[in-house]
């Protein structure tokens, strides 16, 4: 039993590191080129351009902050909630792009491959990230917080 719990914690730690690294990297790449990211968001034709521009300026920093937040126990729960939420938003946008047959690039990691096959690959990747973030979130929500009663 104890061995199982240790293994689970190791896997969770690895998953947190990978998730954090991915979102911090994605955030940094997009923070370096917010203009291009704004155009990538605009290509989905879901938002007015000024809002796309505002998101292009803000989202990369939220990804960086949340990615780093996953690594610190005091902010982990909130960070995982945000990453799961962000992942769901990206997933919805990608699904919408695929469903409408848009020939665009994901915009997930700054400059990337454009076109439908690349978009579908990004969709699958986003779904996996949401899955991992949600699983970690569920696990973290069951960790006893200091000063709060242990929930069985």
């Amino acid at each position: 039993m104890a061995g199982g719990a240790k293994a689970a914690e190791l896997i969770a730690r690895g998953a947190r590191l990978a998730l954090a690294a991915l979102f911090v990297y994605a955030g940094v790449v997009k923070a370096l080129g917010p203009g291009e990211f704004a155009l990538a968001i605009d290509n989905y034709r879901l938002l007015p351009f000024p809002l796309a521009a505002a998101l292009a300026l803000y989202l990369p920093w939220l990804e960086i902050a949340s990615g780093l937040g996953v690594l610190w126990p005091k902010t982990r729960l909130g960070a995982l909630s945000l990453l799961a939420g962000l992942g769901l938003v990206f997933l919805s946008a990608l699904a919408s792009g695929v469903a409408r047959g848009l020939d665009i690039e994901c915009g997930c990691f700054g400059h990337g491959h454009a076109g439908r096959p690349a978009l579908i690959a990004s969709l699958v990747r986003a779904a996996l990230l949401v899955l991992v973030a949600t699983a970690l979130l569920w696990r973290e929500s069951r960790v006893p917080q200091k000063g709060k009663p242990i929930v069985p």
Binding site: P34, G35, L39, P50, A53, L57, G78, G101, I104, E105
Partner: protein, 140 residues
Amino acid sequence: MKQAGALLLIALLPALVAAALHPRRPAWSRELMSMPEVTLEQTRHWEGRVLWVDARREADYQQRHIPNAVWLAEEQWERQLPEVLQVWQPGVSVVVYCNDEGCALSQSVARRLRRDTGIDGIWVLKGGWNAWLGAQKRRS
């Protein structure tokens, strides 16, 4: 909730700084950021001094393309760009196209082309490949 709120706020400060100072910050209007568009009709006045660049998938390009168009895709950029530059001459306008109005590939390729080559006269074909096809059908 508090943790998420704190992270949302922490991200806001660098975002505001970027909005004010980032050299590659977005304009607040799409038109200011888009590559200029040109219609097929307008290109006819350029007396053939046009280099067509096809930004669609390679399979689509191989199947059919605007006569003398070169293929340039982002995933083959390092390999294809020198070949495109070999064909281009000063004074020739570059017109990039992809499938249609809903396709953003041509804008993306045109922007990257301008950034990487410094060529001034780079345009995006309004209506893309579909516009050219439509024009061919109207002629026949």
